[in-house]
Protein backbone atom coordinates (compact mmCIF):
# COMPACT_ATOMS: atom_id res chain seq x y z
CA UNK A 1 0.00 0.00 0.00
CA UNK A 2 1.39 3.40 -0.96
CA UNK A 3 0.86 6.11 1.66
CA UNK A 4 1.18 9.68 0.42
CA UNK A 5 2.94 11.90 2.93
CA UNK A 6 1.92 15.53 3.44
CA UNK A 7 4.22 17.66 5.51
CA UNK A 8 3.70 20.80 7.52
CA UNK A 9 6.94 22.72 7.94
CA UNK A 10 5.81 25.16 10.66
CA UNK A 11 2.62 25.66 12.59
CA UNK A 12 0.08 27.61 10.58
CA UNK A 13 1.49 26.56 7.23
CA UNK A 14 -0.33 24.29 4.79
CA UNK A 15 0.39 20.60 4.59
CA UNK A 16 2.26 20.04 1.32
CA UNK A 17 2.96 16.79 -0.48
CA UNK A 18 6.45 15.55 0.45
CA UNK A 19 6.64 12.04 -0.97
CA UNK A 20 5.36 8.57 -0.25
CA UNK A 21 6.19 5.35 1.58
CA UNK A 22 5.20 1.81 0.78
CA UNK A 23 3.94 0.08 3.94
CA UNK A 24 1.63 -2.82 4.79
CA UNK A 25 -0.53 -0.86 7.24
CA UNK A 26 -0.92 2.38 9.16
CA UNK A 27 1.42 1.32 11.99
CA UNK A 28 4.31 0.66 9.60
CA UNK A 29 3.49 3.79 7.61
CA UNK A 30 3.67 5.82 10.84
CA UNK A 31 6.98 4.30 11.97
CA UNK A 32 8.55 4.73 8.55
CA UNK A 33 7.19 8.13 7.51
CA UNK A 34 8.12 9.80 10.80
CA UNK A 35 11.76 8.89 10.27
CA UNK A 36 11.89 9.54 6.54
CA UNK A 37 10.20 12.94 6.77
CA UNK A 38 10.81 14.09 10.31
CA UNK A 39 13.98 12.68 11.86
CA UNK A 40 15.66 16.07 11.86
CA UNK A 41 12.70 17.75 13.50
CA UNK A 42 12.10 19.44 10.17
CA UNK A 43 8.36 18.79 10.16
CA UNK A 44 5.79 20.22 12.53
CA UNK A 45 3.35 17.53 11.43
CA UNK A 46 2.67 14.82 8.85
CA UNK A 47 -0.52 13.54 7.25
CA UNK A 48 -0.39 10.00 5.89
CA UNK A 49 -3.04 9.13 3.33
CA UNK A 50 -3.45 5.78 1.56
CA UNK A 51 -3.07 6.52 -2.13
CA UNK A 52 -6.43 5.02 -3.13
CA UNK A 53 -8.09 7.56 -0.83
CA UNK A 54 -6.78 10.43 -2.95
CA UNK A 55 -9.15 11.62 -5.64
CA UNK A 56 -7.29 13.71 -8.20
CA UNK A 57 -8.88 16.40 -10.36
CA UNK A 58 -6.86 17.88 -13.22
CA UNK A 59 -9.47 18.51 -15.89
CA UNK A 60 -11.52 21.68 -16.14
CA UNK A 61 -14.16 23.14 -18.47
CA UNK A 62 -14.30 26.89 -19.13
CA UNK A 63 -15.93 27.01 -22.53
CA UNK A 64 -17.74 30.29 -22.13
CA UNK A 65 -15.01 32.41 -20.62
CA UNK A 66 -16.49 33.15 -17.19
CA UNK A 67 -13.78 35.69 -16.34
CA UNK A 68 -16.02 37.79 -14.15
CA UNK A 69 -15.12 35.42 -11.32
CA UNK A 70 -11.46 36.37 -11.43
CA UNK A 71 -9.41 39.49 -10.88
CA UNK A 72 -8.14 39.46 -14.48
CA UNK A 73 -11.73 39.68 -15.64
CA UNK A 74 -11.88 43.34 -14.67
CA UNK A 75 -10.32 46.30 -16.36
CA UNK A 76 -11.22 49.38 -14.44
CA UNK A 77 -8.44 51.75 -15.59
CA UNK A 78 -10.34 53.58 -18.32
CA UNK A 79 -13.55 54.04 -16.33
CA UNK A 80 -11.66 55.12 -13.22
CA UNK A 81 -9.91 57.82 -15.20
CA UNK A 82 -13.21 59.09 -16.59
CA UNK A 83 -14.79 59.11 -13.11
CA UNK A 84 -11.88 61.10 -11.68
CA UNK A 85 -12.08 63.60 -14.55
CA UNK A 86 -15.75 64.13 -13.82
CA UNK A 87 -15.10 64.58 -10.12
CA UNK A 88 -12.19 66.91 -10.80
CA UNK A 89 -9.87 64.67 -8.78
CA UNK A 90 -7.68 63.42 -11.60
CA UNK A 91 -3.97 63.80 -10.86
CA UNK A 92 -1.73 63.35 -13.90
CA UNK A 93 1.60 61.59 -13.08
Amino acid sequence: MIYEVFRQERKGQPFAHAGSVEAPDAAFADAWAREQFGRRGESEGLWLVPRPAIHEITDWADEFDLKYRRVDGYSIKARLREARERAGTLVED
Partner: protein
Protein backbone atom coordinates in the same frame (compact mmCIF):
# COMPACT_ATOMS: atom_id res chain seq x y z
CA UNK B 1 40.59 -1.64 37.42
CA UNK B 2 39.51 0.63 40.26
CA UNK B 3 36.60 -0.42 42.46
CA UNK B 4 33.40 1.18 41.18
CA UNK B 5 30.54 2.58 43.17
CA UNK B 6 27.31 0.67 42.61
CA UNK B 7 25.90 3.69 40.76
CA UNK B 8 28.83 3.72 38.35
CA UNK B 9 28.52 -0.03 37.87
CA UNK B 10 24.87 0.44 36.97
CA UNK B 11 25.71 3.29 34.63
CA UNK B 12 28.38 1.27 32.84
CA UNK B 13 26.13 -1.81 32.61
CA UNK B 14 23.53 0.34 30.90
CA UNK B 15 25.90 2.47 28.82
CA UNK B 16 27.73 -0.60 27.55
CA UNK B 17 24.40 -2.26 26.70
CA UNK B 18 23.29 0.77 24.69
CA UNK B 19 26.67 1.19 22.99
CA UNK B 20 26.93 -2.41 21.89
CA UNK B 21 23.30 -2.88 20.90
CA UNK B 22 23.54 0.45 19.06
CA UNK B 23 26.68 -0.74 17.29
CA UNK B 24 24.97 -4.01 16.34
CA UNK B 25 21.87 -2.18 15.13
CA UNK B 26 24.01 0.24 13.08
CA UNK B 27 25.29 -2.78 11.12
CA UNK B 28 21.91 -2.86 9.38
CA UNK B 29 22.35 0.63 7.93
CA UNK B 30 22.15 0.08 4.20
CA UNK B 31 21.10 -3.57 4.25
CA UNK B 32 17.79 -3.75 6.10
CA UNK B 33 14.93 -5.66 4.43
CA UNK B 34 13.24 -2.56 3.00
CA UNK B 35 14.54 0.94 2.41
CA UNK B 36 11.86 2.47 4.62
CA UNK B 37 12.78 0.12 7.48
CA UNK B 38 16.47 0.85 6.90
CA UNK B 39 15.94 4.54 7.58
CA UNK B 40 13.80 3.92 10.66
CA UNK B 41 16.15 1.28 12.07
CA UNK B 42 19.14 3.56 11.67
CA UNK B 43 17.41 6.18 13.84
CA UNK B 44 17.01 3.58 16.56
CA UNK B 45 20.72 2.76 16.39
CA UNK B 46 21.62 6.44 16.61
CA UNK B 47 19.31 6.98 19.58
CA UNK B 48 21.01 4.11 21.39
CA UNK B 49 24.47 5.53 20.80
CA UNK B 50 23.12 8.85 22.06
CA UNK B 51 21.84 7.17 25.21
CA UNK B 52 25.19 5.45 25.71
CA UNK B 53 26.93 8.78 25.44
CA UNK B 54 24.68 10.41 28.03
CA UNK B 55 25.17 7.50 30.42
CA UNK B 56 28.95 7.53 29.88
CA UNK B 57 28.95 11.23 30.63
CA UNK B 58 27.59 10.57 34.12
CA UNK B 59 29.95 7.65 34.72
CA UNK B 60 32.89 9.66 33.41
CA UNK B 61 32.66 12.09 36.29
CA UNK B 62 33.42 9.51 38.96
CA UNK B 63 36.08 7.89 36.82
CA UNK B 64 37.85 11.08 35.73
CA UNK B 65 37.35 10.09 32.13
CA UNK B 66 35.28 11.06 29.09
CA UNK B 67 32.61 9.26 27.05
CA UNK B 68 34.87 8.38 24.11
CA UNK B 69 37.55 6.95 26.39
CA UNK B 70 34.95 4.83 28.18
CA UNK B 71 33.36 3.71 24.93
CA UNK B 72 36.55 2.86 23.05
CA UNK B 73 39.61 2.66 25.27
CA UNK B 74 38.76 -0.18 27.63
CA UNK B 75 39.75 -3.79 26.99
CA UNK B 76 37.01 -6.23 25.83
CA UNK B 77 36.99 -7.93 29.23
CA UNK B 78 36.20 -4.64 30.96
CA UNK B 79 32.89 -4.01 29.21
CA UNK B 80 29.89 -4.75 31.41
CA UNK B 81 27.24 -5.26 28.74
CA UNK B 82 24.81 -8.16 28.84
CA UNK B 83 25.60 -11.10 26.52
CA UNK B 84 22.28 -10.49 24.72
CA UNK B 85 23.71 -7.43 22.99
CA UNK B 86 27.07 -9.06 22.31
CA UNK B 87 25.64 -11.78 20.06
CA UNK B 88 26.33 -11.25 16.37
CA UNK B 89 22.90 -11.73 14.80
CA UNK B 90 22.98 -10.51 11.23
CA UNK B 91 19.65 -12.01 10.19
CA UNK B 92 16.38 -10.19 10.54
CA UNK B 93 14.44 -12.72 12.60
CA UNK B 94 17.08 -12.75 15.34
CA UNK B 95 17.65 -9.02 15.09
CA UNK B 96 13.99 -8.19 15.57
CA UNK B 97 13.66 -10.82 18.29
CA UNK B 98 16.56 -9.19 20.13
CA UNK B 99 15.08 -5.72 19.54
CA UNK B 100 11.79 -6.76 21.01
CA UNK B 101 13.29 -8.58 24.01
CA UNK B 102 15.76 -5.79 24.70
CA UNK B 103 13.03 -3.17 24.62
CA UNK B 104 10.94 -5.21 27.07
CA UNK B 105 13.90 -5.51 29.47
CA UNK B 106 14.79 -1.87 29.00
CA UNK B 107 11.24 -0.80 29.83
CA UNK B 108 11.51 -2.62 33.17
CA UNK B 109 14.91 -1.06 33.81
CA UNK B 110 13.73 2.46 32.98
CA UNK B 111 10.65 2.08 35.16
CA UNK B 112 12.86 1.08 38.09
CA UNK B 113 15.27 3.99 37.51
CA UNK B 114 12.45 6.53 37.30
CA UNK B 115 10.95 5.20 40.52
CA UNK B 116 14.36 4.96 42.20
CA UNK B 117 15.87 7.32 44.75
CA UNK B 118 18.58 8.85 42.56
CA UNK B 119 17.16 12.07 41.08
CA UNK B 120 19.88 12.43 38.47
CA UNK B 121 19.40 8.88 37.20
CA UNK B 122 15.62 9.23 37.29
CA UNK B 123 15.81 12.38 35.17
CA UNK B 124 18.08 10.78 32.59
CA UNK B 125 15.90 7.67 32.57
CA UNK B 126 12.84 9.81 31.84
CA UNK B 127 14.65 11.46 28.95
CA UNK B 128 15.71 8.12 27.51
CA UNK B 129 12.22 6.75 28.01
CA UNK B 130 10.69 9.49 25.87
CA UNK B 131 12.70 8.18 22.90
CA UNK B 132 12.17 4.57 23.87
CA UNK B 133 8.43 5.02 23.37
CA UNK B 134 9.09 4.95 19.63
CA UNK B 135 11.50 2.02 19.88
CA UNK B 136 8.82 0.06 21.72
CA UNK B 137 6.21 0.99 19.11
CA UNK B 138 8.57 -0.18 16.37
CA UNK B 139 9.38 -3.48 18.13
CA UNK B 140 5.69 -4.17 18.86
CA UNK B 141 4.78 -3.44 15.26
CA UNK B 142 7.25 -6.04 14.02
CA UNK B 143 6.44 -8.59 16.74
CA UNK B 144 2.77 -8.33 15.79
CA UNK B 145 3.46 -8.76 12.09
CA UNK B 146 5.84 -11.70 12.61
CA UNK B 147 3.99 -13.41 15.45
CA UNK B 148 3.06 -16.39 13.27
CA UNK B 149 6.43 -16.62 11.56
CA UNK B 150 8.38 -19.63 12.88
CA UNK B 151 11.75 -17.97 12.34
CA UNK B 152 10.77 -15.14 14.66
CA UNK B 153 9.18 -17.30 17.35
CA UNK B 154 12.19 -19.62 17.43
CA UNK B 155 14.55 -16.67 17.67
CA UNK B 156 12.64 -15.25 20.63
CA UNK B 157 12.72 -18.64 22.38
CA UNK B 158 16.45 -18.92 21.72
CA UNK B 159 17.23 -15.43 23.03
CA UNK B 160 14.94 -15.47 26.06
CA UNK B 161 17.61 -16.79 28.50
CA UNK B 162 19.85 -13.94 27.36
CA UNK B 163 17.07 -11.40 27.82
CA UNK B 164 16.66 -12.41 31.46
CA UNK B 165 20.37 -11.69 31.90
CA UNK B 166 19.91 -8.02 30.98
CA UNK B 167 18.23 -7.33 34.33
CA UNK B 168 19.32 -7.87 37.93
CA UNK B 169 17.52 -10.75 39.68
CA UNK B 170 14.97 -8.54 41.45
CA UNK B 171 13.67 -7.14 38.15
CA UNK B 172 13.42 -10.42 36.25
CA UNK B 173 9.93 -11.34 37.44
CA UNK B 174 8.65 -8.06 35.96
CA UNK B 175 10.17 -8.99 32.60
CA UNK B 176 8.62 -12.46 32.73
CA UNK B 177 5.24 -10.90 33.52
CA UNK B 178 5.49 -8.34 30.70
CA UNK B 179 6.35 -10.90 28.07
CA UNK B 180 4.26 -13.77 29.38
CA UNK B 181 7.35 -15.96 29.39
CA UNK B 182 8.70 -18.20 32.14
CA UNK B 183 11.10 -16.99 34.81
CA UNK B 184 12.71 -20.41 34.94
CA UNK B 185 13.98 -21.90 31.70
CA UNK B 186 15.52 -25.26 30.84
CA UNK B 187 18.53 -23.42 29.41
CA UNK B 188 19.01 -21.40 32.59
CA UNK B 189 19.90 -17.80 31.91
CA UNK B 190 22.96 -16.03 30.53
CA UNK B 191 23.98 -13.35 32.96
CA UNK B 192 26.43 -10.46 32.74
CA UNK B 193 30.00 -11.26 33.59
CA UNK B 194 31.69 -13.52 31.09
CA UNK B 195 31.95 -11.68 27.77
CA UNK B 196 31.54 -13.58 24.51
CA UNK B 197 34.16 -14.00 21.78
CA UNK B 198 31.74 -12.05 19.59
CA UNK B 199 32.36 -8.97 21.71
CA UNK B 200 36.11 -9.19 21.17
CA UNK B 201 35.54 -9.39 17.40
CA UNK B 202 33.25 -6.37 17.60
CA UNK B 203 35.77 -4.49 19.73
CA UNK B 204 38.57 -5.15 17.23
CA UNK B 205 36.52 -3.60 14.45
CA UNK B 206 35.05 -0.81 16.58
CA UNK B 207 38.44 0.38 17.82
CA UNK B 208 40.51 -0.23 14.68
CA UNK B 209 40.80 3.38 13.54
CA UNK B 210 41.07 4.75 17.06
CA UNK B 211 43.91 2.40 17.94
CA UNK B 212 45.74 3.09 14.68
CA UNK B 213 46.95 6.49 15.94
CA UNK B 214 46.66 6.51 19.74
CA UNK B 215 45.82 9.87 21.24
CA UNK B 216 44.88 11.46 17.91
CA UNK B 217 41.89 13.77 17.58
CA UNK B 218 39.40 12.70 14.92
Amino acid sequence: MQALSSKTELLLDYADDELIVGWRDSEWTGVAPTLEEDVAFSSIAQNEIGHARALYELAARELGSDPDALAFDRQPGEYRCAPLVQLHLLDWAHTIARRWLYEQADAVRLEALQAGGDGELAQLAAKIDREEVYHRMHAEMWAERLKDEPRFREAVDELWPYALGVLPPDLRPALAARTGRPLETSQGLTDRGENLAALTELWNEMTEVRRSIPGAEW
